[in-house]
């Protein structure tokens, strides 16, 4: 026999090593969490930092001649509002006489200025008859200058605005206001006019279709497969296929949508209807898998008690098991919908990667989606689109958070009831 004390000491050594290993593991875990949090904070902060500019836009005050000579009060729409704007600029700066100079001068205001003037007059015809000071949108270059993205100290030929243009801007009355247009306009090729609404509505409509299709179909298939279907070779085959479908790259669903929904059924291209149908193909497997897992998590005693009390299998499932699994259904659905919200690849094939100015009024009208809008803006040469891109990402994130909040509220509601 060896000395028991020695053995005891040896054990102590092992123990300290084990404790140390445990400590080390915990620290590695903490560092991992800290690192991922840092990345997340960095990403969100940089997006917000870049996107905040899109919430502000620049307006220029112009004194326009709205005498009856320029605009016939009986036929307001027939007037040339662009001409009135140009005339106002020329009277303000009579030194711009050459063609090139005039062009530079006109470039200070947005190409939409004429339409904005028209809308203001149509809204308040009392403006007519005299000189009026009105506010119109500045062009994106002026906006960039006001936000400090164009460096005044650089030589003239290496910035978008000439010295003369900058002196004109300084002489004009300019204000920076909240950019409501970003939330009320559709897409535009002019950054100062581009808005998110058409993409937002397109995304909402697509997701509505996606939900209306994939939620009932997904939940019903999960309930049938889990509660009623006979376990056998067929149900195994179906299960394997559903699991595989969940891992299929999303572009494949887009191709499927193109060949079936568009070419065979003849549904309208670029419409949220087709978009939602394609996205629901993609979210179905996710929902089915999550719903089956949550059905399996319902204790068998519930089912057995219901059957024991004389309930039919359908009653047992729908009155007792499914309501308990409801929070799980909702979680699965929201995960699937969140995935669908961020997809662009399948939408490319069915024509939703498109320039859409008009706000879609129904599920059959052409529409685009938020991630597509982000992609299209990120790809535009105008520098002012950079901040629009970030702002669109913020809108997408907010949309996602709202969706999650609704899911949490619904889940809480069902959890309290049972």
């Amino acid at each position: 026999m060896t000395n028991p004390d020695a053995n005891f000491l040896k054990g102590q050594k092992h123990l300290t090593r084990r404790y140390r290993a445990e400590q080390r593991f915990q620290w590695i875990g903490r560092i991992a969490i800290a690192a991922s949090l840092t990345f997340l904070v960095f990403m969100v902060a940089s997006i917000f930092w870049q996107g905040k500019g899109a919430l502000i836009t620049t307006k220029i005050a112009l004194t326009v001649d709205l005498s009856t000579e320029m605009i016939d009060p009986a036929n307001i729409k027939g007037a040339s509002f662009d001409k009135i704007i140009k005339l106002a600029l020329r009277t303000e700066f009579p030194e711009a006489t050459k063609r090139k100079q005039k062009k530079r001068l006109y470039a200070l205001v947005s190409s939409d200025a004429g339409f904005q003037l028209r809308d203001q007059i149509l809204e308040g015809p009392a403006l007519l008859g005299a000189d009026q000071t009105i506010w119109v949108s500045a062009s994106d270059d002026v906006d960039m200058l006001m936000k400090g993205h164009i460096d005044r100290n650089k030589p003239q030929n290496s910035r978008r605005l000439s010295d003369q243009q900058i002196s004109w801007i300084d002489a004009l009355l300019v204000k920076q206001v909240f950019n409501t247009g970003f939330f009320t306009n559709g897409d535009s090729r002019e950054p100062e006019l581009a808005g998110i609404l058409s993409a937002l509505v397109g995304s909402a409509l697509s997701l509505l279709i996606c939900f209306a299709l994939s939620f009932p179909i997904g939940i019903m298939s999960a309930i049938y497969l889990e509660e009623f279907a006979k376990k056998g070779r067929w149900s195994d085959l179906i299960e394997i296929n559903i699991n595989n479908l969940a891992a299929v790259p999303s572009i494949v669903f887009g191709l499927l949508g193109l060949s079936i929904f568009l070419n065979v059924f003849g549904l309208p291209r670029s419409s949220p209807l087709v978009g939602g149908m394609v996205l629901s193909l993609m979210t179905l497997p996710t929902i089915i898998i999550a719903a089956r897992a949550s059905l399996r998590a319902v204790p068998p005693s519930i089912r057995e008690a219901a059957l024991g009390m004389g309930a039919s299998p359908v009653q047992a499932t729908f009155h007792h098991v499914a309501p308990l699994a409801m929070p799980g259904f909702l979680t699965g659905t929201i995960v699937g919908m969140a995935q669908a919200l961020g997809e662009t690849a399948p939408l490319l094939m069915i024509g939703m990667v498109a320039f859409i100015v008009d706000i879609p009024g129904s599920i059959l009208e052409p529409a685009t989606a938020l991630p597509v809008q982000i992609f299209l803006w990120a790809d535009s040469p105008e520098r002012a689109f950079l901040e629009k891109t970030s702002a669109a990402i913020i809108v997408l994130l907010i949309f996602l958070v709202l969706m999650n909040i609704i899911a949490i509220i619904l889940r809480k509601k069902y959890e309290i009831r049972f």
Partner: protein, 346 residues
């Protein structure tokens, strides 16, 4: 409660899927090249604002994808116009004809220059097409006629002694991009052809000639930076030694941070590209399905808007967006052809 939810969603599903009768299409559908996309969308937007027609829907599908959709058939389900950053191929014309589309109107809208640019923090480069080929090809001539070797060059001065000793690092678009196709065809092949023996080779063995002239090196000197030209511009600003390949409109928008290298002695400037002096420039087109004129409202009006001086002219709004206009005579000639709806002649 649960059954109620299910019934509700089922009702929603039923209303949603009960497809109402599709109204006749009263909106132009345009597909095609991502290079022409910014110009087509600008015209579409103005057209929608200035007329009573709806704003056309413009899709960015790429030139090849657009022509495929365009040639698929006649009728409301098919696009009316497709944009292309190259001319339609005879195989595509045949494909169209096979689907009954024999009357196509070709419209050339202007030019696009492809620039080779670096950060303004470094010196401006003066390269030739041959320099670009030697710096970027996978295999380069050894000096002995008929012999090639894997590209050994790592710095610019090895390619051409007059260039500085800077590491070769070029960011450009991936193979799916039309810009890359054009760059390969115009710059790489252009430089490749300057070697007389390779030029002679073209007739003898076209396949080998193509693989020599069209293959870009894969050893890390050429970096595929994605389709997003903005990203390349931002990377250039961060790395003064790197070069980027992208469209002229991005150079114009970012003239404070990047500068275009002169190629064969010509700087990538508006006038030089318009007059054809700049070697790496291509023509941009769109194609119109003549059978849709009258079927879909607004086609002729859209063409009139596109071909107005206000749009594609020298001082037009498309020039502001980076399109390089054609010369006056070319414009008059094309406007006549387009508005007269004359058929495509290959």
């Amino acid at each position: 409660m649960f059954t109620k939810t299910l019934t509700l969603t089922a009702v929603a599903l039923a209303t949603v899927t009960a497809a109402p009768a599709f109204a006749e299409r009263d909106q132009l559908k345009i597909v095609g090249s991502s290079t022409v996309f910014p110009f087509a969308t600008t015209v579409a937007e103005r057209f929608g604002k200035n007329t009573d027609f709806k704003t056309p829907v413009v899709e960015s599908t790429g030139s090849g994808g657009g022509l495929k959709l365009f040639c698929a058939g006649i009728g409301e389900g098919y696009p009316d116009i497709t944009n292309a950053s190259r001319r339609i191929k005879s195989s595509e014309v045949e494909r169209c004809a096979a689907n009954g589309i024999t009357d196509i109107v070709e419209a050339k809208i202007g030019y696009d220059g492809i620039v080779f640019a670096n950060s303004k923090a470094s010196a401006q480069f003066d390269v030739t097409l041959a320099d670009l080929f030697l710096a970027l090809a996978k295999e380069v001539p050894t000096g002995v006629d008929g012999e090639v070797q894997p590209n050994p060059y790592t710095t610019w001065d090895q390619v051409n002694a007059s260039l500085p000793t800077v590491k070769i690092e070029v960011m450009g678009p991936p193979p799916t991009s039309g810009t890359r196709d054009a760059f390969i065809e115009l710059a790489m092949e252009g430089g490749c052809k300057t070697f007389p023996w390779i030029k002679a080779f073209k007739k003898a063995d076209k396949k080998a000639y193509k693989s020599l002239c069209h293959t870009i090196r894969e050893d890390g000197a050429y970096i595929e930076a994605g389709e997003n030209d903005n990203l390349i511009v931002q990377k250039l600003a961060a790395n003064p030694n790197a070069f980027g390949i992208f469209g002229y409109s991005f150079l114009e928008q970012n003239s404070d941070t990047v500068q275009g290298s002169t190629i064969n002695g010509v700087a990538p400037e508006f006038e030089a590209i318009a007059e054809g002096g700049y070697p790496v420039s291509r023509s941009l087109y769109f194609y119109v399905k003549k059978d849709h004129v009258g079927l879909i409202p607004g086609i002729t009006e859209f063409l009139a808007e596109f071909t107005s001086e206000n749009a594609w002219g020298e001082d037009g709004y498309l020039a502001d967006k980076g399109l390089i206009p054609m010369t006056d005579t070319e414009r008059t000639e094309w406007a006549e052809k387009i508005n007269g709806l004359s058929n495509l002649a290959m």
